[in-house]
Symmetry: C2
Subunit: 469 residues, 2 copies
Amino acid sequence: METPNLDSLFYPKSVAVVGASNVPGKIGNAIMRSITLYYEGKVYPVNVKGEEIEVNGKKFKAYRSIQEIPDEIDVAVIAVPAKFVPDTIDECGKKGVKAAVVISAGFKEAGRADLEEELVRRARKWGIRLVGPNCLGVTNLENGFDCNFNPPERQARPPFGKVAFMSQSGAFGAAILDWAAGHRIGMSKFISLGNMADLDESDFMAYLGNDPKTGVITAYLEGVKDGRKFFNTTREVTLKKPVVILKSGRTEAGAKAAASHTGSLAGSYRIYQAAFEQAGVLEAKSMRQLFNYAKALAMERPAKGDRVAIVTNGGGAGVMMSDGLLERGMKLAELSEETNERFRKDIEAGKLPEHMSYRNPIDVIGDAPSSRYEIAMRYALEDPNVDLLVVIALFQSPALDEGIVEAMERMKAYGKPIVFVAPGGDYPHKMARNIEQRGIPVYETVEDGVDAVYALVKYGEWLKENGKI
Amino acid sequence: METPNLDSLFYPKSVAVVGASNVPGKIGNAIMRSITLYYEGKVYPVNVKGEEIEVNGKKFKAYRSIQEIPDEIDVAVIAVPAKFVPDTIDECGKKGVKAAVVISAGFKEAGRADLEEELVRRARKWGIRLVGPNCLGVTNLENGFDCNFNPPERQARPPFGKVAFMSQSGAFGAAILDWAAGHRIGMSKFISLGNMADLDESDFMAYLGNDPKTGVITAYLEGVKDGRKFFNTTREVTLKKPVVILKSGRTEAGAKAAASHTGSLAGSYRIYQAAFEQAGVLEAKSMRQLFNYAKALAMERPAKGDRVAIVTNGGGAGVMMSDGLLERGMKLAELSEETNERFRKDIEAGKLPEHMSYRNPIDVIGDAPSSRYEIAMRYALEDPNVDLLVVIALFQSPALDEGIVEAMERMKAYGKPIVFVAPGGDYPHKMARNIEQRGIPVYETVEDGVDAVYALVKYGEWLKENGKI
């Protein structure tokens, strides 16, 4: 596996924006807005008129060409008409630019494969690595380096966190980012892959595999550029950190649509499925599932087995969760005789209510305070037959006090993965945020929780098979 | 099909709350709070001390027994210890009460089948219909008659609308209500079924089938009380309005959990599946799917066929939608030669962009303003090969203006069902609310949109098979 060093792409000290503009609505203006909002490196606008650029209340002296800039330049973000891009690359080369993000469209996707080949040829000559063309560029949530031309009032940026995301579709990628921001999913880096004339999904996969700031790698892909390279790369990366892929073009109609969209040969879906499985990739079937998996893997350790215990204050939710887990191939843990005995004694002693069920799912009943949850959770986590704990809290019951938040923090000490499910509206959402701050992932529906358990169990299996846990 | 007249249960002129209390945290206090918040009928608290009840800033004179109340009583809401409930029913009978909602637990679910039988015997004697026992009662969102003891700060109530919901699990039902409120799903009536000692899911199904305020009936069920009655009732009701059921206890572990929860014999899931299919019931597999189906069916007319056209400003989302539709057994419409010709001419005339794809999915590309959407939507809706239109809008693109809201209203005139998908965060949510006010259901992910299309197509097929459309 060859790992390109893309540090200067994601952590540039200085950036040139070629095609920078003062006209609101122009892409060269939007990029200037995004790039100067949080990023603290130096930004040099370049445009034919050399006109000063004013964005975000700051003024930037502009240059007529990148060579006129009196400073070294790590990255050039290029948003000029396609026909001018190859020459711009030559100028970048003379200037010693290390990487170029080509936002401009009008290449292979518009029937100009020749222009794209020319672009690559020039970049190779100078040793410049390329992102795109025809993309939204890269966003590093850590240092605010953000080439994405969608304005923040239309597309929110997620908080900095452990999930990296790359997308073969810029527009859909942006929608997913916006959605992830609303769901407070912390992200490390976003890459809009574009036409992948040079750097492709495997290159970024390899880089992110070594990126200490990335804990989970996610991707939206319609097809891969080089199957062998992709397989070899991901197979190595998945031994270090989880990889979750949303692959579209799974059906005949989807594959046709993909061909007309990115020109991807979606290929036989079965071949992809087999490759994913053999490379330890978790395949998500929907946007929500992609992030259900990613959030669990970013926050919790993988499970050492598939035996799940459920603690709930609502019997119905326990039934739903049991169905969901079994339908996805997992097991309900059979609690040990010792654990049953502990429950029986507590019930006899009046510490636990007479009518609760302590067979898994453990139903602490509707009037359970957090102290009762805590007893049940401890017994489940201390049981050697339990690999993972699901806690369902129906916060609509006023009996359930906020002590559950601190209790969850104490449960972390057991070292077994925990998935928390809190269906409902505003109040459960507030509790969810507090519990997530303690490092336990919270989901708003039973089915989302099932996804989370699945990801932790499946990735645990993969690591086990490969002797990593 | 026997349809009980439950109008006095849902629209009582006067209500007695037996077991009313002034002590915050007591169920008899919480019920008084809920029932007096919006409901404008008369509320008479009953408790052994005859103490005045003060809730929501209002004072209510209390009575020592229901017979002392100097007024007729339509409904008694009963929250006294189980052992006193049969005698309370006798008092209700003497008073001429028509229906009783028994919140109290401690009957069959607690091993007291005898007490439950006694309860039913007494009610039958007086001709009183019973909800429960062991339930959260009923909530009529139309007139605010609400027996649910979960306080509003813990469990929001959804706005008044067309979806009725009944739940065999009170706690889970409450969580679903809270969730639905957060997603602004309008509801007509909520019924917590409890032990179903008298009125069961089929009785409510029959009543809701004739309820002019209910457009769609939804239910969470672990098992049905009387299979034959249920089948005959739903088969008739589904010819009048859609029925969507979330059935749990589908797996062995789920069925076991259900048996310990509600005592339901979940029965063979295959038998349920066959019955649902033959009765025209749409089966949902998750909470989200239940309401994805319900919202579509509440807002849009059923589709006359399964040929779907997609208009999108993001190719990737179009690919995802194509996969989702095909995987669920629907078709992408093959646009007529006339429609293709219309697109071709507009492209030649420069009215539509050169690189857009007008094969279904119709990709109006990332820089599409609402006017371009409108051309594409009209051509799709005017095509005789199209039964249903899916519109995907990635609002992250600043090119897409708010004119899309009015455009959608104009598209309603074609009389074909439309499903709108707007993935992302705050801005798409705002647009979604505006578009839903125009009567078109909006979904936040592609997969939710697929659910919506599925429901409209499947219910349309059922009506067609039965000669109803």
